[in-house]
């Protein structure tokens, strides 16, 4: 498996994401549920940050807000120096196109397309030529070890393989920010481990800021930083000792 050179030579320092006093509530009929209340945090660039917590603690909402998929009721989010609240929906789409990648729990692959085409598709909208898009897609698939199976459709792939294609799709855009929502919870232990390794390596080699939401305890060992959430607040902020087996072995 060949590995392309990192997009940034040294890992960028500083904050990739900053949230200041954000609040979010959902109204269903007469019931108003405050999901996030006056929450502030910063996410460092080039790290794999894990947000964990029980279901309903607001971690997915936090991810949606930090990634610009949802608006806040109060407070502000600054991503890569842009305040997301000031962008209209078109500008937000443009921001996401240029800077962010997503990996979801369900793999959300088009049944009709091969792995290579799934990865190629968003690249065309970035303005890449057909050849460039194909080359970059093949490179990304190589990085997640899917080269031998990149011409197969989702129905011919295992869950782990589908998630690797989904990661390649997010990665091929070369985003500064990569958001992952429960990327391993639909997978068995071995496949889950593979996905964790890939996400970790992306943060290392590409200097990508990876923000991952999961309640999967296996992920904790691999994260650079773990935020525990409960009831819309952050309870703890830890940096676990790096596991000895990390490929690059350059934990902060």
């Amino acid at each position: 498996m060949s590995r392309p050179a990192p997009v940034t030579a040294s890992r960028p320092s500083g904050h990739a994401l900053r949230a200041e006093g954000i609040a979010k509530a959902f109204v269903s009929g007469k019931v108003r549920t405050q999901v996030l209340d006056d929450l502030s945090l910063t996410i460092d660039a080039g790290e794999l940050t894990l947000i964990s917590g029980p279901s309903g603690c607001g971690k997915s909402t936090l991810l949606a807000i930090l990634s610009g998929l949802q608006k806040v009721d109060a407070g502000r989010v600054i991503a890569l120096g842009s305040e997301l609240g000031e962008l209209d929906s078109r500008a937000l789409e443009r921001f996401r196109l240029l800077h962010t990648g997503f990996v979801f729990q369900g793999f959300n692959l088009f049944p009709a397309l091969s792995g290579l085409e799934q990865v190629e598709l968003p690249l065309h909208y970035l303005g890449l030529s057909g050849r460039q898009a194909r080359e970059r897609a093949a490179q990304s698939l190589d990085e997640v070890g899917m080269t031998p199976r990149m011409h197969l459709r989702p129905s011919e792939l295992s869950g782990g393989e589908k998630q690797r294609v989904a990661i390649a799709r997010a990665l091929a855009k070369r985003p500064e920010l990569l958001f992952a929502d429960e990327p391993t919870s639909a997978l068995d232990a071995a496949n889950g481990q593979t996905i964790i390794d890939i996400l970790h390596r992306i943060a290392r080699t590409h200097g990508t800021t990876v923000l991952c939401v999961s309640h999967d305890p296996r992920l904790i060992r691999h994260a650079d930083r773990v935020l525990s959430m409960e009831d819309g607040r952050i309870l703890s902020d830890q940096r676990p000792a790096p596991p000895a087996a990390t490929p690059e072995g350059t934990a902060p």
Binding site: T61, T100, P111, L121, Y125
Partner: protein, 377 residues
Amino acid sequence: MVALARKTLVYEWRRFLPAILAVGFAGLLQLLQAALVLGIFSSASVYITGSSADLWVGYPGTQSVSLGRPIDPDVEMRLRMDPAVAHVEPFYWVDADWRGAHDTGGESVYVTGIDTRADGLMFSRTLPPALRARLAEPDAVIVDRADVDKLGVKVGDTAVINGRRVRVVGESSGLRALGGVNVVTSLDTARQLDNDPTDLGRPTYLVARLRDPAQADAVAARLRGDKGFGPYDVWTARTFARRSVLYWMLDTGAGAGVVFLAGIVFLVGAVITSQTLMAAVAGSVREYATLNALGVGVGNLRWVVLEQAFWVGAIGLLGATLLGVLLLVAARSQDVPVVLNIPITLLCVALAMALAAVSGLVAMRSLRRADPASLLR
């Protein structure tokens, strides 16, 4: 570019099949309906389209060939005086009562008296020379193949028209009349059969061939102005044929019926097609939402849906065309009057594609559910 719309259509063809069939059958229905109506009503102008005359001269204001009134035979002189006119012949139209040899009761018939010479203009396209030569015999008539059962005769039989005995000497094809039965005779026989004393042996029409058919409009305009020969008017064959067909279409209300039915077919087709496309979009809504999360704009996603609608329309029409050709050939072989022309065919194609486009626009609304934030729950 990855052809998402086409690849999805091919891979999930079962999902799109109802839409393809809906567009196809809507197109086919429109087309066959148009062909049938045109076919039925074009028989109102079969006297004109089956003949090689360039100009028709008749009573002013005549709305359909079947509604002619006698004109002054001297108009023929006026026509012959014009250097552009190569040949003129009279044409008789007699509404008559037919009694067949076998007991079929009375039947209204249109007796058409034509010049039976081999170079005669009337019915030159529908009556082969051998057949028209047989009309030279006194009291000989030709009836259409499609009408023999109705008239209760076969070739060689005798019948009575307006009290005068006639003999069936042949069968024509493609001379089916609208609202009656055509009986073709010679000019002399027609004059004999005409028992209306006011007609005085005057022809109903004069038809003319021009040296240069392209000049028909100009010559018709030139001949029209002369008032010295009593009331008459001149039309080009094209104008008079069109006028006759339109008269029947509007007179019977068939025109409005066609438009109404076309509207219903369009509506039903659009409902089925849009529902199917919506279901297809809904089936991939998570994938669309993921693309949107990755920054692919909603506008681009809408194009994918519209492109799908376009392909559904194109494939449906292809099927409709193949089936339509087969059905039209079958109809022709069974003497069912069907006629199609290029403008009407193009109109039907345009309607079917419009149906697909409208359905695509409706289906786009399903994309509203492709909210990427909904993937994070």
